[in-house]
Subunit: 421 residues, 2 copies
């Protein structure tokens, strides 16, 4: 019999305890051993958690209990769970965590502390989708060329509404908040931070890259308007907030931003709160993994998959690639060296010669225009100018945007979105 | 160092040998050991295979070599590979096979012979997609509610062409043959047999069902016409050849047939030669796995994933569920007890009272019509009658079709297709 302790019996923790009980037959059949929850830890013991397990308000009752084999960390936060996970690993206990923020900042230190003790986190990324298992096991033969993921359900729900129903950002956000998909302070989701944590975890497994959120390009969806949505439709794109990890000649690009992607690609077809991760391997080509990225039972499904893997002994270190290839892990490509296609939207004077000024400015930076659309603006003296560029360097487009803003004929903010072909 | 021998160095076998060499760095990093191909076996030694490995024309040079740890069987056929795999397992060697026909007929006997020796077959189902890994590991917490898979690229290519380009079956088949997607004798693909082998393998892992192809409902795509395609479009469906395994109250339905599915479902969006498998678990909800279902490198990716799993020790028996739950594995539901929605197409007299006759006949079998479309036929005296039914039992629709065919007002063949909502 294997005994687990759960730190944090909220929605996911309660699901873990309840599924271990309800599906005990099949879980024991697959793990080869009975798995029982010995104790759950909560802050407030007086609140009903809807579980049939013993509860304590002292996390050390789990972390220091010699009878507990596996500690499941579902607390959220960073520093408190870091301390407890560290202690659990030092006590020789296997750890399963769904805590993406903890991992975004401390995955390498924790792996170091863990050594050969299992530290697993399938549930930290894309909820119930077994994407980490796919990277660790199913695609083990492949050099990973790229990962593109819809890893935040809130923003995908919002973008789907904006695209399918023509709704504006502010209205969709309000609706998402009313439905409980978005928090009162939606920053963590809409600004791309949540997705960045998950991207960093996948990038570690695929490329052994030890980066933190502040090291990579992260942009949110707040500036997207119906003008952009209409342009994307006209030119055969969908707009998705993607986490992208891509191997290029000089390193690995890591970035989270709203992206125009061909409407015919599979990941463009993923709507609503669902998540999906597309992985391109050098042997297998493109594979895609789709499912619920959040929710108690779906996330618990991934937590229990890790527990079963631990019981079975399928526990090669998550960051095994870096560990085994010391010295040859990939480097994070500096943000300014990213090369991709760009979409720009700006408001300009409706006068002869304006287009020439803009294209001249772009030419200074070796940027050439691929497609263009001019739309009338409610202010009759201005028009909206929308265009896409051929592939160019991030450094150059950023510099060009600074120069374009200085032009007399350009008014207000220039909105930029990246395009993946 | 781990030594493998490859039985059958055709397209997939050559890819396995070449990828083990080209990607040796990452494979060793993930497996924890170096993996080398000691010997490949071919029938004709004089043919160039494009590999840097030693070749023999005697399979026992692999199967009986005490230095070889893992035998990779990629021969095709059933009885010859059965004999060799059996011998390899008896010699204590782990076996990896991509041979779906072998497994469709002998997976339980081979698992019995294997005992605790690893017998793995990720590549047998949906090519490079790690779907077996998902069922064994990633979804271990779940009772599987259903599996729906596009597991044959040839037929999906043909159906995509018929739907997107309005092409007729015979023309598309010819084109698929010219492109090498379909064999000169296309029966194995278009009649659904290939998909049925894969479905049986997945059903074993999910439900422990020991059935053979001849035990289950298998129908092909030959009878589909542009009339059906147009109807499906009008009513919001796509047509896909699906392998379906579904848990119902009295057992598990296993069936392969062209299926009308809502165009909004993810699996409906999978086009061309690609494969995808949608799995619904009781905790995780729907997950879907998408990728290349064939091709040397993609299939080799799955073969090598199994090899790495064996080296790592991630080798719980594939059919572990049945093994551990003796007596409580599921039963195959008899074909006639399947309950679903149906689409019928028939040619009838263009006269008053005909519709009443048909609906009366259906009523005798408790079948009620859900939607209907009547189309003029080139023969002016006949019309095409297309309709869908509410959920009813297979036994009743089959009996009703016999009676309908007997009616004077019904001419020629009645075409039936099942609908999954």
């Amino acid at each position: 019999m294997v005994k687990i302790g759960i730190l944090g019996v909220g929605t996911v923790g309660a699901s873990v305890a309840n599924i271990l009980e309800a599906n005990a037959d099949i879980i024991e059949a697959r793990a080869g051993k009975k798995i029982v929850t010995k104790l759950g830890v909560v802050k407030n013991l007086s609140k009903d958690r809807g579980v049939n397990i013993k509860l304590s308000d002292n996390p050390y009752d789990v972390v220091d209990d010699p009878e507990i084999d596996i500690v499941v960390e579902l607390m959220g936060g960073v520093e408190e769970p870091y301390k407890l996970v560290k202690k659990a690993l030092e006590n020789g206990k296997a750890v399963v965590t769904a805590n993406k923020a903890l991992l975004a900042y401390h995955r390498y230190e924790l792996q170091e502390i863990a050594g050969d003790t299992p530290l697993m986190y399938e549930a930290s990324t894309a909820g119930g989708i077994p994407i980490i298992g796919a990277l660790r096991n199913g695609l083990a033969a492949n050099h990973i060329e790229s990962i593109q993921g819809i890893m935040n359900g809130t923003t995908n729900y919002m973008l789907t509404k904006m695209i399918n129903e023509g709704a504006e950002y502010e209205d969709v956000l309000k609706e998402a908040q009313e439905l409980g998909y978005a928090e009162a302070d939606p920053t963590f989701d809409v600004d791309g931070f949540d997705a960045s944590h998950k991207l960093l975890i996948l990038a570690s497994i695929a490329y052994g890259i030890d980066a933190k959120p502040e090291d990579i390009l992260i942009e949110g969806i707040e500036d997207i308007t119906q003008t952009d949505v209409a342009f994307a439709k006209d030119f055969g794109y969908e707009i998705k907030l993607l986490g992208i990890a891509k191997k290029v000649e000089d390193g690995v690009e890591l970035r989270v931003h709203p992206t125009m992607i061909p409407a015919s690609s599979m990941i463009a077809k993923v709507d609503g709160v669902m998540n999906a991760v597309s992985v391109v391997g050098d042997c297998v080509g493109e594979t895609m993994y789709y499912g619920a990225g959040a929710g108690g039972d779906a996330t618990a499904s991934a937590v229990i998959a890790d527990i079963v893997d631990i019981v079975r002994g399928n526990t090669a270190p998550m960051l095994g690639y870096k560990k085994c290839l010391e010295g040859s892990a990939f480097e994070l490509l500096p943000e300014e060296d990213i090369v991709t296609h760009y979409y720009l939207r700006m408001e300009v004077n409706d006068k002869p010669g304006v287009l020439a000024k803009i294209t001249n400015e772009l030419e200074q930076f070796d940027i050439s225009i691929e497609s263009m659309l001019q739309k009338p603006h409610k202010n009759d003296e201005h028009v909206k100018l929308l265009f896409t560029t051929h592939a160019c360097q991030e450094l150059k487009i950023q510099a060009a945007m600074v120069e374009l803003k200085r032009l007399d004929c350009v008014h207000g903010k220039i909105t930029m979105m990246r395009i993946e072909k």
